[in-house]
């Protein structure tokens, strides 16, 4: 859910809307926001499944330290989605 109004931060300033693709689903996102923020805004919380036990993982620290939120971005695995910024046409997949 996007926070459009905020008592301290005010109204969300207008931003350029672009499209990203998440496993075939086209999503609107703001250019330059972290991929993790865009996915969260669309209610997506499972970013990957662990390799051996297939457990779901999502965002934990949101500042690029914990690497829990890594995904395959434009074919590149282990991309930290909380610090990688959205570009138009990006293709994003869950990592397994």
């Amino acid at each position: 859910m996007r926070i459009l109004e905020h008592p301290i931060l005010g109204k969300m300033p207008p931003r350029k809307v672009v499209k990203i693709e998440m496993e075939g689903r086209v999503l609107e996102a703001f250019e330059g926001e972290p991929i993790a923020a865009a996915l969260t805004a669309h209610g997506i919380c499972v970013f990957r499944y662990t390799r051996v036990r297939k457990e779901p993982r999502g965002i934990s620290c949101a500042i690029g330290q914990c690497t829990d939120c890594v995904m395959v971005v434009n074919g590149i695995p282990n991309t930290r989605t909380c610090v990688t910024r959205v570009e138009d046409g990006m293709k994003i997949q869950r990592q397994e």
């Binding site: 859910m1 905020h6 779901p56 999502g58 934990s60 620290c61």
Partner: protein
């Protein structure tokens, strides 16, 4: 290879303060490196007003302090390299950088490590589920990126961070079902606690997390009461239907670069674990390598500004820009600014450890 007089790793409150103080004293060619796209470190998500005196920029919100300090850095001619990771420090104070796909090296006469901290977790069944986030993580998502990662939240930890983030979650439109803490008392300031209790958020002390339940994300959390020895009391479980569990259970210094430099370390649980030993001037056991802020022991942003400033002053003295007397005078002033934040019961232990951390330099018995 380009040579700087002073290289600062980390553009948060400690790093910026260090650079600003050094620049004011006349140090030339200063650079700040930060892996983020903006200066400010974790101040950029602090929407609340700070405490303290004028020297701590009290009464201002963290977000505004960040931009004011960044402006000051630019005004003083400090080089700011954003989106730049310092991944190593090698012999001869060689700093290895990585910026937008390019590697680079440079040297500096003095280096300040102001690398901050990472969030702690607590492990219980279900703690790895999506929807379990650090308090800092939630703050970043809602206050910087303006998305709410959940609607119904259980907050674990009643220190200042837990209390402040609970209030900020309420401001952002989320529901905080409860704040729990394993300690028998609320950890943070009363002023922060009353802000959320006024909004009917219960603060349950002597309670811990037993289990987090969910398939692909958090669906519920079970808490349990603990006795005076922190042992769970069977039969006291309570279940909350929540979609998010926020962990506000402390921080650990990010001190990889200090390890790499060969600095002596000391383990101080009250200050977040392993941290580099350093002098009262914030110099580590490796001459020319300084440390400040949470990377040198967990406190908070106001003290980070003070310890950063102390390091900047010491660097200016070591490079010949300040006399010993003037440096001493400035350092005393900044050290006094630390007192109000080290005066509570936690602070007493801090002060005791402070002596330990300083005195350990040059002595044996510490991992080298």
């Amino acid at each position: 290879m380009e040579t700087y007089e002073f290289a600062v790793v980390g553009g948060g409150p400690a790093g910026m303060s260090g650079a600003i103080e050094a620049a004011k004293a006349g140090v030339q060619k200063i650079a700040i490196f930060d892996e983020n796209p903006t200066l400010g470190g974790q101040l950029v998500k602090q929407t609340h007003k700070f405490f303290g005196g004028r020297e701590h920029r009290a009464g201002k919100r963290g977000i505004d302090i960040a931009s004011a300090m960044a402006k000051e850095c630019h005004g003083l001619g400090i080089d700011v390299m954003k989106d730049t990771v310092v991944w190593g420090i090698f012999k001869g104070n060689t700093v290895a950088l990585y910026n937008e796909g390019k590697a680079q090296r440079l040297t500096a006469k003095a280096i300040l490590l102001a690398t901050g901290a990472s969030e702690n977790n607590i492990a219980c069944p279900g703690w790895t589920l999506p929807g379990v986030l650090g308090a800092g993580g939630i703050q970043t998502m809602m206050n910087v990126h303006r998305v709410l990662p959940g609607n119904r939240i259980l907050m674990v930890g009643s220190g200042n961070v837990g209390l402040i983030v609970s209030y900020q979650l309420l401001q952002a439109g989320a529901k905080v079902v409860a704040v729990i803490d394993i300690l028998p008392r609320i950890g943070g300031y009363g002023v922060h606690a009353s802000k959320i209790t006024r909004l009917s958020v219960p603060i349950l002390t002597s309670h811990s997390l037993k289990e987090i339940i969910g398939k692909d994300r958090v669906e519920a959390a079970v808490i349990i009461k603990v006795d005076s020895k922190n042992k769970p009391i069977p039969g006291t479980e309570q279940r909350f239907d929540v979609d998010t569990v926020c962990l506000s259970v402390g921080l650990s210094p990010l001190a990889e670069l200090a390890w790499m430099c060969g600095c002596k370390f000391l383990y101080v649980p009250e200050l977040g674990g392993w941290m580099p030993c350093r002098s009262e001037k914030m110099e580590t056991s490796v001459p020319g390598i300084y440390v400040a802020g949470d990377g040198g022991g967990i406190e908070e942003a106001s003290t980070a500004m003070m310890t950063g400033a102390i390091a900047g002053i010491a660097v200016a003295e070591s490079l010949g820009y300040l006399t010993k007397e003037r440096s001493e005078e400035l350092r005393k002033e900044k050290t006094k600014g630390l007192d109000p934040f080290r005066c509570k019961d936690f602070g007493f232990r801090r002060v005791a450890n402070e002596k330990l951390i300083e005195n350990i330099i040059g002595s044996k018995g510490v991992r080298e």
